[in-house]
């Protein structure tokens, strides 16, 4: 399997009035060509920052303080502005969470889809226009030549998300990053968008990083899952493995608290407590205040991320690993 992305010891900090926030605290992961990786965690876990920082798409008061991200032989974190701009939209594309605010309200939708093509000088105007109309149709927007000329206002949330997907695919990216693309949508529209993404993933053979807090979506769409907590990776495994033997108490908690049809009559088992204050993380294992299995060592020492088997990693004192 060809390796597409190799992130190593990424650390990202934010400077706020309240203090320094260690949003991403030393994470490493790989993505192979054609694979879809799910990064799952609650708000504040650092899941979005861990991926958006690769394209330097974080707030001005955020700083990448360490790490490297090798994409097709180049370290993304060391590229200058021009080189980054060359990659954004062409080799790596992103779709964001809020379709209401991600599109420019005063530019026609079709033009926004063409934008990446023109910017990267892949086609001439006429060809690009044809391609944009095709894309709009492919993502399920009916009457696309007509709707090409509409403004975002004239689209519903689900439709706007489709437009964003069309924009993201315009230049045939090698890697698609989806940052909570369905969180703001009704469950019925979420199903439509996920169905579309599934089809496109297969059709384009794209690699995907899918960021979400919803395991029920991630486990159906992705090949592999990473669970993140307070800026760190706590578990990583292929979907089948993580569902059969989830090891980290947080992963187990997430799985058990996901609301599914069929929960009637069963007891709800939410994870107690809340994600930690970003400026004051707990000592030792960051999850220990909410963990029902917490031991004395969990308060003192952070557990290292160890390999349990070839493709299953976990960071927990309860689990004895084989090698680092």
């Amino acid at each position: 399997m060809m390796e597409l992305l190799n992130v190593n010891n990424l650390k990202v900090e934010f400077h706020r009035v309240e203090g320094i926030v260690k949003a991403v605290d030393g994470i490493s992961y790989k993505l192979n060509k054609g694979e879809s990786l799910g990064i799952v965690g609650e708000s504040g876990s650092g899941k979005s920052v861990s991926v958006l920082s690769l394209l330097r798409l974080i707030n001005r008061n955020g700083r990448i303080v360490d790490g490297e991200a090798i994409f097709l032989g180049k370290d993304l974190l060391k590229l200058n502005k021009e080189e980054l701009r060359d990659i954004r939209g062409k080799d790596i594309s992103i779709i964001f969470q809020n379709p209401m605010t991600s599109l420019n309200p005063i530019i026609r939708v079709g033009i926004q889809v063409i934008e990446p093509i023109i910017w990267h000088r892949l086609m001439k105007n006429e060809e690009a226009r044809e391609r944009a109309i095709e894309l709009l149709e492919r993502v399920g927007i009916p009457e696309s030549p007509k709707r090409f000329l509409n403004y975002p206002l004239q689209f519903s949330g689900g439709m706007r998300q489709r437009v964003m997907i069309a924009m993201a695919l315009a230049c045939h990216p090698k890697l698609l990053i989806a940052d909570e693309p369905t969180t703001a949508l009704d469950v019925t529209i979420q199903a439509q968008i996920m169905e579309l993404l599934q089809e496109l993933k297969e059709e384009y053979g794209m690699s995907v990083i899918f960021i979400t807090h919803d395991l029920s979506v991630a486990t159906n769409f992705c090949d592999r899952i990473i669970t993140m907590y307070a800026g760190k990776i706590v578990e990583e495994a292929p979907v089948e493995e993580i569902l059969k033997t989830p090891l980290h108490p947080y992963t187990k908690g997430l799985l058990n608290s996901t609301l599914e049809i069929g929960s009637r009559g069963k007891k709800l088992v939410p994870i107690p407590g809340n994600p930690p204050n970003p400026t004051k993380h707990p000592s030792g294992c960051k999850f220990h205040p909410r963990c029902s299995f917490a031991m004395e060592i969990c308060q003192r020492e952070e557990p290292p991320l160890v390999n349990i088997s070839e493709n299953h990693r976990v960071a927990c004192h309860l689990i004895k690993g084989e090698s680092k």
């Binding site: 009035v17 008061n61 407590g273 809340n274 204050n277 400026t279």
Partner: protein
Amino acid sequence: MLRKNKTESIGYWKAFWLRFKKNKMAVIGGVFVLILIALAILAPYIAPYPYDEPHYIRAFEGPSKDFIFGTDALGRDLFSRILYSLRNACIIGFGSQFVVLIIGGILGAVAGFKGGWIDKFIMSIVDIMFAFPTFLFNVILVTALGRGLFTIFLAIGLTGWAGMARLVRGQVLYLKNSEFVEAAKAAGASTFYIIRKHILPNMIGPILVNLAFGVPGAMMTESGLAVIGMGVRPPMPSWGNLIGEGIGMMMAFPHLLIFPAVTFAFTLISFTFLADGLRDAFNPRSEIS
């Protein structure tokens, strides 16, 4: 059970203060503004000479031991005159903004609350105000009302309330439809209670910023009026007057232009930095590293 993490809770105003503190320009501006206001208030006590006391023998002198900034055509102490200009400018600056707040605030609030044709009516007046050449309007008003300090700041206020009205109306509309107001309604609150307890406190920030920018703006307007001879009546000094005179004598007696211009610019910049800083500090998203 949620237990308090060991950070202190940072309230709205404390967070505002922290953000404000970090903006060096704003703090410097704020400190200078305070000094300037103090000077303005104390002008009658600290001015070395009355502003209209001539010393004909010592006319057109440059800075000296007796006259820190020199003297003008009538031998009047430039430093004292500048102090009084500062005082008048502050009276006009703050006075006019008070008028703006009352007129613009009430009209904007009524428009926002009542909606319907009252809103449309008030907003069309606002549009007209914006379309009007404000300066001309100011000149007309001052001619009609007279050239006293009070009438001048009244005039500037009367022509400058439109922006405040729009702002207040926008704030009221936004807050009126917010969910915490709905929650209060669901709890049985009267409209009056909602305005007093829920809407007004949330409007203070943007209004304060608007007023903070309005003060230097009004000062500039008055000096503009003074340059064309419509400012405060001489011998009462105004920066506009002083600068106007100074331009006439620029080649021969540069000090008559330099001191008024520099002090005026300094004052305006201080107020503007302060207002700028207030605006950024009220915005919780402007995290400054």
